[in-house]
Amino acid sequence: MAVGLPAYLVLAAILFVIGVAGVVTRRNILIIFMSVELMMNAVNLTFVAFSSFLRALDGQVFVFFILVVAAAEVVVGLAIIYAIFRHRETVDVTDMNLMKG
């Protein structure tokens, strides 16, 4: 393969850090959730890259499981966001201070 493993890892690192920046800077809980998905995608990319360059498929099986867990996570997470919205009429995380009292 013409493109080496470091190129994929660097790309995944950049995407992961963009995701971290999104989680840290945004206030809209949906955007935060999307940033988490972005981070997960970056990690998937490292899994597939390593698996491909190590010539073993185990890493790709893990990506398959991550896909399943991500789907479950999105379903439950969006249901929680919807429940919070119905309760508080907001998606702004600064307004979600129920635990603080």
């Binding site: 013409a2 493993l5 660097v10 971290v20 809209n28 940033s35 010539r55 099986v61 479950a72 600064t94």
Partner: protein, 180 residues
């Protein structure tokens, strides 16, 4: 691999990587959640085609159907259900210079660390796991992955079905209207 084919691969990687990074930046900076979601779809599609570049066709299809398809439809559905046009406190660039400086510095430090790690990584030589691109091309990626999934990883595979069941039940309980 011939010179033209490898040049093509490098060019494809460069374009896909650029598209993925730009779309990811739009995801975290755009004010409107719908545009963020659509740009996230673009990032996921780029990553899907990078999977194809890494010779894993099955995950390419899975990435498109599950992530770019199902997950993002769910996101858009919830965004439109909640009707988020009226954003009370729109996001804007923070005015505190110190916060921006320290934040940017930390982000760059993190990415630099990861890049140093990525460049320093050394793979063991030899045939590795023995699944070379030629073997994948001869036997089919889906078949190889399916064999591994139903033999060595059959227990985790069964556990995922329980996870999905819990997710379905949990979502229904959370989204249900409480009847007093």
């Amino acid at each position: 691999m011939s010179g033209a084919a490898s040049l093509m691969e490098v060019a494809l990687f460069a374009v896909l990587a650029l598209v993925a990074i730009v779309a990811a930046l739009v995801v975290i900076t755009h004010r409107h959640p719908v545009y963020s979601a659509l740009c996230l779809v673009i990032t996921m599609l780029s990553i899907a085609f990078l999977f194809l570049l890494l010779r894993s066709e099955f995950l390419w299809v899975m990435q498109i159907t599950v992530y770019a398809g199902a997950v993002m439809v769910l996101f858009l559905f919830v965004i439109m259900l909640l009707d988020l046009r009226r954003e009370e406190r729109p996001w804007r660039f923070p005015e505190n210079r110190l916060q921006v400086g320290v934040g940017t510095l930390l982000a760059l430090a993190l990415v630099a660390e990861l890049i140093v790690m990525a460049v320093a990584v050394r793979l063991p030589g030899g045939a590795g796991g023995g699944i070379s691109p030629e073997v994948v091309a001869a036997q089919g990626h889906t078949q190889l992955l399916g064999r591994l999934l139903y033999t060595e990883y059959v227990f985790p595979f069964e556990v995922t079905s329980v996870i999905l069941l819990v997710a379905i039940v949990g979502a229904m309980v959370l989204a249900k209207k409480r009847v007093e």
